[in-house]
Symmetry: C2
Subunit: 351 residues, 2 copies
Amino acid sequence: MIGKLTKDVVVADKQAINELYNVGYYGRPKGDILELTLIEAAFLLYRNKIDVELDGEILDFADFFKIASMRQQYFELKYIVYKDLRERGLYVQPSVTDFRIYPRGGHPGKTAAKSFVYVRTERIPMPLRDLMKSLNAASNVRKQMILAIVDEESDITFYEVKSVNPKGEMDEIYPNITAEATLLEERVIIWDSEASSTLFENGFYGKMLDENRLQLSLVESRYLLENGIIEIHDRESDAVLDIEEFSKRASAIEPEFFSKYKVYEDLRNRGLVPKTGFKFGTHFRLYSQIRSLAKMPHSENLVHTISPDHEFALPVMSRAIRVANSVRKHMVFAVQSEKGVDYVDIGRIKM
Amino acid sequence: MIGKLTKDVVVADKQAINELYNVGYYGRPKGDILELTLIEAAFLLYRNKIDVELDGEILDFADFFKIASMRQQYFELKYIVYKDLRERGLYVQPSVTDFRIYPRGGHPGKTAAKSFVYVRTERIPMPLRDLMKSLNAASNVRKQMILAIVDEESDITFYEVKSVNPKGEMDEIYPNITAEATLLEERVIIWDSEASSTLFENGFYGKMLDENRLQLSLVESRYLLENGIIEIHDRESDAVLDIEEFSKRASAIEPEFFSKYKVYEDLRNRGLVPKTGFKFGTHFRLYSQIRSLAKMPHSENLVHTISPDHEFALPVMSRAIRVANSVRKHMVFAVQSEKGVDYVDIGRIKM
């Protein structure tokens, strides 16, 4: 069977519809002809299912591959992913993202596609905006969104991307007290023993410096300040710092203070307890409910705050997700939006 | 017992030498007096072992702590680490880095210190130059170098930092062939089936695209090009690319190409097989010997290339080490130096 290469498609005749589309769902029938993408054609050429002709000459695999790589951006990359998916027994068609794939047991014409696949090379940073656009395109038609990242040795890692809506079950988010605290160089300390233990044991704020005194992180301090639970003093003059002054100092200490605080506040208001995720290289680990410090539950989510114009360096993203998944946690990215905070869970999946 | 606060030390009398130094190795005896750092004094104050006097007035813990935090940079941070180490039963003295600690069973005057401890907050990036300076200071006097990183909730993570000298046992680093290859958009492909399998199976280069063709990463391609094993052609003109031209194109595709290549070359020349570490978020994973692809050994090291003026973002470093350690690997940072490449292993330790 011969397909003709014209621009960025390979066109074959009616026989191809019977032998390629009807049997393996390759290409798209258009009247009496079958139209194949360059990727589909390369795969069929590799499988010795078709010959490809250009200007009356038959191309071998290498020549076709070189030409295709010049005619379509990321051809090699997408070919590698397409081949992998087909060899897993999945039916694949082109899509608004790179590919759409059908559920096992389904196929074009019988079932709707299940997932949209978006292919990226590890080398090129991925703007969050692009990811969100693809996620929305998939969500709008109720498809699963899959990210396929190809590394420099052509190994593929698949990730599922989804919007999530974290909710916790803490009903009382702060104890009903007022405590005196001091902003030291980069942390806040509550000196009173009773206030310290109440905030620590009932609100799960901070960490005890010793038996009597509680240290609070900057985001915790602002949250308690906003809610009238603590009063923060300057270490030198003992002057009371208002929210604005405290926040100004906090963001001088911690450049990401404002964006982290927005997310911290949103999570607390959702009934969750966010604690630092430093040991996992992220901003927060989340607890959906803590009943007592003696019985800390497993934290199921790590949250990292990113700005709307964030660009994911993919090796860094890969590492973040690997850390989370290796300790049975989800990696959730928090993005400030007009409506509040959006949460996107990115996790490795087996295809 | 009363200590007097003057500038950045607390001075106590002879009785203190007997009760604090001789018993717990706090402070340094100087003739008839005992000199304590602000940190030691704060700890002894917390333990109710001393009172501290300033201008004739006795300070309570909170007041002393506030004053100390104004007189010494990172006082809180260092206090947290000092307290933790002492409470682990270790004897601690000040040092050219922040602290030196004594081996268990040893103490000042009896044994030499075992380790130098260098304290950092997770918030402030750590310049590689500072780390190397501390490492050299420790190595020169044959001490273990320990990095104590304090996160925003005052949890401490301890890391051991050491110079390493990775060596592999691959004797034949490339098969004796010459193969034709093409540089496509971002990878190099060898089209010949025999050359492909020889390079893949005997040199452990690249990854098979399919049964007949081998894909090489850019660093592998340059290494094979340098050693006369492959010839690389342009995909359009078929012109042969020399090392310079290939490297120019490779660094347009991969901004870190040159620094990664220097390390790749050094590792190969050390008899190691470096493969991509993308799945772990690093540049390379290393094999010290591969006998056959069917029996791949466990890779014990991950290597990440950094420039001499690198600044570690500590949450990112924490994450990198966590990924490595969670799969029983060492995290090794490779730095180009005048003499070649230096390797620094940073791993979590229990104190």
